[in-house]
């Protein structure tokens, strides 16, 4: 499917332009509404569809292999922490799915490392990364192997 935009729903806000990973959602200078300028570089990732506040963007299966008459619609609700999908087959079969998108209030549990504890003196020369070894939950040091066991060539 490549995405397309409904004339009567789009208000030209540009959320889709801002998010599209392929830089193919642009504002058409004549209509002042969004348009997919390069359908053949669309990955159907639905980033624009999810970002659109007006439900103005939809996808129509790629013309070279997808028969018409289907739809896959999505509603991403950040405040509820869910994503809902509705799949409609060409023959009318319908399937609905809802999944969580996060378990925590948005961003709150992601640390700002500039304000977190400083690494200990000399730790930069060790092999451990931030939060390690504690963050491995093994109650052990970071694993390593002795170089004496290395073998060169075909045999393991």
């Amino acid at each position: 499917m490549s995405t397309f935009v409904y004339m009567t729903k789009c208000d030209g806000c540009g959320h889709c332009v801002d998010i599209c990973p392929s830089d193919i959602m642009h504002i058409d200078p004549t209509t002042r509404r969004a348009v997919n300028i390069e359908p053949n570089m669309c990955w159907e990732c639905y980033s624009c569809v999810k970002a659109c506040p007006n439900e103005a963007i939809d996808a129509r299966g790629y013309a070279d292999f997808a028969p018409m008459g289907h739809s896959v619609r999505v509603l991403r609700e950040e405040e509820k922490g869910t994503i809902s999908w509705r799949i409609k087959f060409r023959n009318g079969t319908e399937k609905n799915f809802v999944s969580p998108i996060t378990t925590k209030p948005w961003g709150e549990y992601i640390p700002k490392l500039a304000e977190a504890d400083q690494p200990d003196q000399g730790e930069i020369n060790s092999q451990i990364l931030y939060s390690e070894p504690k963050g491995l939950n093994t109650k052990k040091e970071l694993p390593t192997i002795s170089k004496s066991s290395f073998k060169k060539g075909v045999y393991y």
């Binding site: 990973p21 790629y62 925590k104 549990y109 490392l113 092999q127 066991s149 060539g153």
Partner: protein, 620 residues
């Protein structure tokens, strides 16, 4: 040419690309470099960029050391086996021993992990994979990078690395342009971490016309991971090791959860298990590797391809049994909605309900990348405690260019990293980059105004080409003076497809076709001096194409160098159909001389740092 502003930025750590590896690098750099200036530059918008833009339904690399599920050495054995013996085991072990701490952070940050109700552990999909509701995987890790960076630049495509003029072979930053404003951006940096994307769209895709973008790997992954380091003379490894994916037909929907969790299986058009039929023939080619467990991915592809060529296709995935269970049916569909929506669309459009009909599979066009079940990329230093002398030159994940680091698709030899491992590798590279700065290795870097001005001229040339050439013709797309980026891309794809082992030739190539391919690539390279870009968006496409072409040259040189068929099912050297451990149980390494553009090739030893404790052979 429009007058574009030049924007200068000086920083300590410059991260090129804000996908999984780039966000990992940006995040971790702040922990070790509290007072350093950390900048991340992204071609799109880091909230939805890179391979994980549309989400993921599984994290494919998690040891589970806390529950004794797997140890790093088990992962080395697994990746080594899957890649027919050839990986950088030091890099793989290093990634694997850290990856659990990365995943635990994702859990803390709010990524919904599925849990096994009985054990309370993360729900396993297979031995290495854990299942997630990952629609917002990318926005979550992007948030972590935003909190660490001094600044994130979106919509800037980095086209070239800058080199220090005080000390030879030392990096000095990067340059690029903003595809919205057209501004020219100069980043002078003490260290650069290339965390850009691998390469889709260098081989002709199966989909044509409107569906061309429905490649397995994202169409925006344009090989900058390779072109940037290759261009400045960094050594590359295993670039011949392209990957072909067995996927659901047309949508390239993933099969991992289907095979591993839903326990679906494949059969030919007659309902037969075809894989075992090809056992003897495969053994002829690769010897005892066919007896390894699990069967290496390329060898399973091989059976698929041979069976289809023998006229017994299509190959189907048997889903009708598993999908009778409503829970498994939900997983089957959500798996696509979480990471490959396009497959759901294909099935809806063709009325394929896997509950009642076994869907078709296909083998994809080849891709060049370094984070999935393949390991093309830059030749980098490993960590001090794990790397033999040939693999170690001071700083973990540093390329052979000083101060230039890599992570994710950029790093060669460390296969099976996937999303979590790429993020982890970014963290490793970032720590090493900070150490490099603290060790005062980045003093007195000089990047002259002349060097920057030079690149400025080169970068905008496609706009000028178009402007001048367009005045010669009345209208349309045909010009005697320029080619458009899409026209050049299609030429590249045709060359790679027909000469370097693409779908049209059933992945077959040989010395003669490769040499002809190189000649045609040289001509394309010359023509790309005349690529014409109508606007800044097309300017981005022009530079994507140039990066893809440089990557393709390197891939072709490597494929020519390795005189064996190491990975049947990924590609075949018709003139050397057998695996040859005696001469080729080694890693291939290339370097392109930035002055002459010529490639030189060498063999590097494979070190097996892990023994073969686990029984390698399946009971046969």
């Amino acid at each position: 040419m429009p007058k574009n502003k030049t924007v200068y930025e000086n920083c300590d750590v410059l991260v090129v690309g804000g996908g999984m590896a780039g966000t990992g690098a940006t995040f971790e750099a702040r922990h070790w470099g509290r007072d350093l200036k950390i900048i991340c530059v992204e071609k799109a918008n880091i909230d939805r960029s890179g391979a994980v833009a549309q989400g993921l339904y599984a994290i494919n690399c998690y040891m589970g050391m806390q529950w004794g599920e797997n140890q790093p050495e088990d992962h080395v054995r697994y990746a080594r086996n899957d890649l027919m013996g050839l990986v950088r085991e030091d890099l793989g072990y290093d990634m694997a021993r850290h990856v659990d701490s990365t995943v635990h952070m994702f859990d803390e940050w709010g990524l919904p992990m599925m849990r096994n109700e009985e054990t309370g552990r993360y729900q396993r999909e297979g031995k290495w994979q854990i299942m997630i509701h990952g629609e917002s995987y990318k926005p979550i890790v992007a948030e972590a990078a935003k909190k660490s960076a001094d600044k994130i630049y979106n919509r800037i495509m980095i086209t070239h690395l800058l080199m220090d003029e005080t000390k030879e072979n030392r990096v000095g930053g990067a340059v690029g342009f903003n595809m919205r404003t057209g501004n020219y951006h100069v980043f002078r940096a003490k260290t650069v971490i290339v965390a850009a994307g691998g390469a889709s769209h260098i081989f002709k895709p199966r989909a044509v016309g409107e569906g061309m973008g429905r490649t397995w790997y994202a169409p925006w992954s344009n090989g900058s991971a390779y072109a940037l380091p290759i261009d400045v003379g960094a050594k590359m490894t295993q670039m011949e090791n392209r990957i072909v994916l067995c996927r659901f037909k047309d949508g390239y929907g993933p099969v991992g959860a289907y095979f591993l969790h839903l326990k679906t299986y494949t059969q030919n058009a007659n309902g037969e298990n075809y894989e075992k039929k090809w056992y003897d023939q495969t053994k002829e080619l690769v010897g005892e590797y066919i007896d390894h467990h699990p069967t290496p991915t390329c060898l399973r592809n091989h059976a698929f391809i041979q069976e289809v060529m023998a006229g017994r296709g299509p190959i189907h995935m048997v889903t009708k049994e598993a999908f009778q269970d409503p829970h498994l049916e939900t997983i089957g569909w959500e798996n696509f909605l979480g990471m490959t929506v396009g497959q759901a669309v294909v099935w809806a459009s063709q009325n394929i309900d896997p509950k009642y009909q076994n869907p078709e599979l296909t083998t994809s066009e080849p891709y060049v990348m370094g984070s999935h079940a393949t390991c093309s990329g830059a030749w980098v230093s490993g960590p001090e405690d794990l790397s033999p002398p040939e693999y170690f030159w001071g700083y973990n994940r540093m390329t052979t260019v000083e101060g230039l680091f890599g992570a994710g698709d950029t790093v060669g030899g460390s296969a099976h990293k996937f999303s979590s491992g790429s993020f982890t590798e970014g963290r490793l590279a970032a720590k090493a980059a900070v150490k490099y700065i603290q060790d005062q290795k980045a003093e007195d870097i000089n990047v002259s105004e002349k060097q920057c001005e030079n690149f400025r001229e080169i970068i905008y040339k496609p706009l000028e080409n178009y402007k001048v050439g367009r005045n010669e013709i009345t209208a349309g797309t045909v010009s005697p003076s320029y080619i458009l980026p899409l026209q050049g891309l299609q030429r590249l794809q045709k060359i790679m497809d027909e000469y370097v082992g693409g779908i049209s030739f059933n992945y077959m190539t040989n010395e003669n076709t490769l040499k002809r391919g190189l000649e045609l690539l040289d001509l394309l390279k010359e023509d790309l001096e005349h690529v014409g870009a109508e606007d800044y968006h097309q300017l981005m496409r022009a530079w994507e194409l140039k990066h893809r072409t440089l990557t393709s040259q390197c891939v072709t040189e490597h494929t020519l160098f390795r005189e064996e068929t190491r990975w049947p099912g990924y590609y075949y050297r018709g003139d050397h159909m057998k695996l040859d451990d005696e001469n080729w149980h080694c890693l291939t390494v290339s370097r392109r001389d930035p002055k002459t553009g010529k490639f030189t090739m060498e063999k590097m030893p494979v070190y097996h740092i892990i023994d073969d404790e686990e029984k390698k052979f399946a009971a046969s």
